[in-house]
Point group: C2
Chain length 640, copies 2
């Protein structure tokens, strides 16, 4: 196993400059001539000159009769002129060419009887009246389009009007994507279902999409095995066929070494390692005058590195600058420490709560592709910074449209599977609204409401002393805040175990058996409080539970630990167990409520959500998930 | 000839509401299931749930050795543990699945000799250290994408990671475009050159492009002859095959009647006539529950009407909202009276001069497609307004990117063919810069500079008294303004006549011959002043020149009048005559200068332009146009 050494890591700006300045971007691609009717979205390779005038003939600008103006001179209602049809006056429609010898159009409305012959003319027209003269729009020889502009549909129209049936445009750059990672199933096979043990090679699908969106023509090559010789051969072949080559590192870090070797052997490595995160293991090089990019293997790194280096490269070659993303001032929901020396991109969800847009960070791992899928924006932590501070305003790059944020309701708190249902039904009911849910536990949700970080909370906090849910906690954490507690559902909590229950777990007491490995929820989660209550009720010490300290943030994550054998048992809801086919030992029903401050309750968008909560569709869909009792759904169970 | 009557014209907002509210936009198209690898840009028709977890197995998060953590407990440098390869420790690369029985990865960097067997372990790892656990990114059963969202490349990646190989997405709406106007050459034939007397039907090409950009699948039908029965038949056929039908009016106003008849016969006309300009003759209807649009025939009307009614219709069906155009406060360069009762869209060029963005109107006719091609923005005059006032700030919709305006140099004044050359070479040299030229005559250019409407002027004003160019005029109109006069070229002015010079024109004296029809330039144009000077020098009265009052704004427009026989002779430059193949009788060389205020001169972007002016490429290209003498090109001939 050989380790590669980054020669000298470059900053993003240095790397971009070193790379992009190496090429004559706008001159790299030859022109090609294609039919004007297919040219939309392409970029002119040279100015385009009109080959004919438009209109190409004198044309009627009104419906009426074409005449020679001089034949109408002196006409008045008292002394009208009479003009014979087909000789002195010719019926004509707007846009039609004037017959030879005519130079004006009398509007049909001005002729007392348009069906008569001869027609009677009661007022003169002057020469070229109601006529679009030849060349009025475009003159032959005039420039229709300058060089280097993108051709719009209406520019296509102008080109055709100007008699230009073929246009010289910049060729589209062919971008060969070389995936690596021999153990993966090739992208070409991803049309069909894969056996559960085979991993899909999907980075090339992502990169091909990004290439297409940057204006290039992606070609995905076969997966190259992880060795230097194969990669060098694949690179040679790619360079013969394409204008740009992207080698996408496989899951193995070894590929990066081979990429370095191949590019260094055939050409020149310009940049090896960029001080960005994700995206650090980026390689930028040139072989035979063509750009070669070694793109990192983790999907988030692959996307962010592409955006920094390949997207501007292609945009420059194609001639279509990439508009900068809109930015917005946002307030981080928590401190976000970041490694100095690296520019970090943090994916966040965004929601406008009160007068602030709150940025809630998503998982920061480069392998977590869902963090990009769920992201509404990116926070960029500069290389010199040690991180971002909670509630200190910072600029975010938007991945959604600014108006989407105004339609976003942010629910933070406990995780429940019906929240996804609610989001779906809400969007179906009101396409401009989104429900964005963050899973930070019931107590986390109350804290977020206290700090104005969310529109509503999701909570199932049981209080053994009063034998009630949520109210005592709200009175403690949100004293005096006018709010309503609205029930979403009663749900079944219980122990999730592997199918067939191999460790024969029956009750909470089984959790302290030495061979039983438990997986817990995070501090502040209602389910964890429930566990603590159940342990106490049974006189069991938490320290006796093996795995009490291993925390997950959602029911589903607990369930997957059980499914994969990482743990033998976890506490959670029936819906999660059922989703993954686990066995379930019911322990207790519990109440899951939404905590809705009055300020939220009064908003029309919340009222729309409430309609959805109270709808038949929601009841039916939630019931179908299993383990839910909707008897109090939508009921205001308490308010303060 | 039948005239149609607008039943009751609707405002744009009324019309849009009447039309769009008639359809269940998001439910109109059934879902279709397509392979995930081809799904980019499509919109989900239902939430998508993960079919497998990602990672689907426990995976190494580092390169190193997979071990069972418990075998390393208690290891220290002094008392290391030894683990046999292949039995207790397994070499593993990042991203690969952990072998059965292992639950942690020791980083290769922490093993003193990674090539040894057994390996020596000097520190313990804890369970799941350096491991991406199953489901860390995505858990089977979890929602990957909600309903109604556009699928990004990275969402494709997430779907494939989640084992989703096919996705239910909204079908794309098929939009049948029915062109009318029997006299036109069908769009399908526009691949090849047309005979000069045939007119191209290009509206369907424009509309097909707009449909595609709004997310629909355009289909252009055959041109339908101008009669009610044919149109009704074509509409029936279109409705059987497509989801939306657009009937594009031909050049004849008659089509509008037939469109009304066809829609009224088969279904319901919702809107007939909209109080917008261009775009008034828009018809909106419904047949068999499908939207049918009668789109106006003039190309600018066709585009603007499409944007108001068809684009939002398709966006709603497809599920991709159209982002509103960015807007900007601009200052009209002149009064723009507008008809009350109609919302008018005025196409303008834009340039940032000083701290204001100046909006210079383009021709307002609905047939002038170049006005859209050249437009940087649209001014919208509200229906209740009588127009926009010069220099009164108003909001403009941008058709270019906001940053393009910062790179725009505005030259107003006399028209010269080398300005197009200059624009081309400037863009080639500095792609972020644009030269926007407006042709308002030499004196117009000086007035524009005085009012801060332009960065520089183009001028060839001859002063007979001093026998010089431009200086006396500048001293009169721009007294005391620090500026430089920079020569662009000497050029040949003369008489442009039809090929073969049929009227045997030789000198200025021939212009007063009774059978000679002249075409003049507008007041304030240097060429017009030259004519006046030449007439005076020859003792001729302007009133004796037939056509002295007929004005055009450019050399090329004068030339096309001569070419088309609208006039027998005009005064202009050799380059214009040569571009259209006219004969040319040289009269005098004249100096064409750029008037450059110091504020402009000092700007880096002007310095870039000056480099282009002084370049060999410009000299050569200008010389090739004919009639130019570049001996003083780029020389500062005077300053104040």
């Amino acid at each position: 196993m050989r380790r590669h050494i980054y020669l000298r890591m470059k900053s993003m700006a240095e790397a971009r400059e070193l790379f992009l300045s190496r090429f004559d971007l706008s001159g790299m691609l030859a022109a090609e001539e294609i039919p004007t009717v297919t040219v939309r979205g392409r970029v002119t390779a040279a100015p385009v000159w009109a080959r004919r005038s438009s209109p190409a003939t004198h044309q009627a600008a009104m419906d009426g009769f074409a005449v020679s103006a001089s034949t109408t001179f002196g006409a008045t209602p008292e002394k009208p002129k009479q003009l014979a049809l087909g000789r002195e006056a010719f019926p004509i429609n707007t846009g039609h060419s004037l017959p030879l010898g005519t130079d004006a159009v009398i509007m049909v409305e001005h002729i007392p009887d348009p069906e008569a012959d001869p027609i009677v003319v009661e007022a003169p027209v002057f020469p070229w009246q109601n006529v679009r003269r030849i060349g009025e729009d475009l003159v032959a020889g005039e420039m229709v389009l300058p060089e280097g502009v993108e051709i719009t549909p209406w520019a296509q129209g102008a080109l055709l009007a100007a008699g230009v049936t073929r246009v010289a445009v910049r060729r589209l750059p062919k971008v060969r994507i070389i995936p690596t990672g021999s153990e993966l199933v090739p992208a070409a096979d991803l049309y069909r279902d894969l056996p559960p043990d085979r991993l899909p090679e999907f980075n090339s699908v992502i990169l091909a999409g990004l290439v297409a969106e940057a204006g290039g023509l992606p070609e995905v090559g076969a997966i190259v095995p992880d060795d230097a010789a194969s990669l060098t051969d694949a690179l040679k072949e790619a360079l013969a066929a394409a204008d740009v080559v992207i080698i996408n590192a496989g899951s193995s870090a070894g590929t990066e070494d081979y990429t370095y070797q191949a590019v260094a052997e055939l050409g020149e490595v310009l940049v090896h390692g960029v001080s960005m995160m994700p995206g650090k293991p980026t390689l930028l090089g040139v072989v035979d005058g063509k750009p070669v990019i070694g793109n990192p293997g983790y999907p988030v790194s692959a996307v962010l590195s592409f955006e920094q280096f390949v997207a501007p490269l292609l945009a420059g070659m194609v001639g279509k600058p990439i508009p900068p993303r809109p930015t917005l001032t946002v307030y981080p929901a928590q401190n976000l420490p970041s490694k100095p020396g690296l520019t970090e991109f943090i994916r966040v969800t965004l929601g406008r709560v009160g007068d602030k847009v709150i940025a809630t960070p998503l998982p920061r791992g480069a392998g977590t592709i869902t963090s990009l899928v769920k992201a509404d924006g990116l926070l960029v932590v500069p290389a010199l910074s040690e991180g971002l501070e909670e509630d200190r305003p910072v600029s975010a790059e938007l991945l959604v449209r600014p108006e989407d944020l105004d339609g976003t309701l942010v629910v933070l708190g406990s995780h429940d599977n019906t929240l996804d249902l609610l989001a779906t039904l809400l969007k179906r009911q009101a396409p401009h609204l989104r429900l964005s849910s963050g899973h930070i536990g019931s107590q986390g949700g109350l804290a977020a409401l206290r700090r104005g970080r969310a529109h509503l909370g999701g909570s199932h906090l049981f209080d053994p002393e009063t034998n009630t849910y949520n109210v005592p906690y709200i009175q403690k954490y949100l004293p005096g805040v006018p709010l309503k507690l609205i029930n979403l559902a009663w749900r079944e909590q219980g122990l999730m175990v592997a199918p067939g229950n191999p460790k024969a777990i029956r009750t909470v007491r089984d959790l302290v058996r030495p061979e039983v490995r438990f997986i817990n929820r995070q501090r502040g989660a209602g389910t964890r409080l429930l566990l603590d209550y159940l342990l106490k009720e049974n006189g069991l010490e938490p320290s006796l539970v093996q795995g009490y300290d291993r925390e997950e943030y959602t029911h589903m994550a607990v369930a997957v630990n059980v499914l994969s054998g990482t743990a033998d048992v976890g506490l959670g809801i029936l819906a999660a167990a059922r989703a993954l086919g686990l066995d379930f030992i019911p322990l207790t029903p519990e109440r899951y409520d939404l905590v809705v401050p009055e300020t939220t309750f009064r908003e029309p968008r919340f009222q729309t959500l409430l309609e959805v909560i109270r709808s038949r569709e929601f009841r039916e869909a939630a019931t179908a998930l299993g383990g839910y009792d909707l008897r109090d759904c939508g009921v205001i169970v308490w308010e303060q």
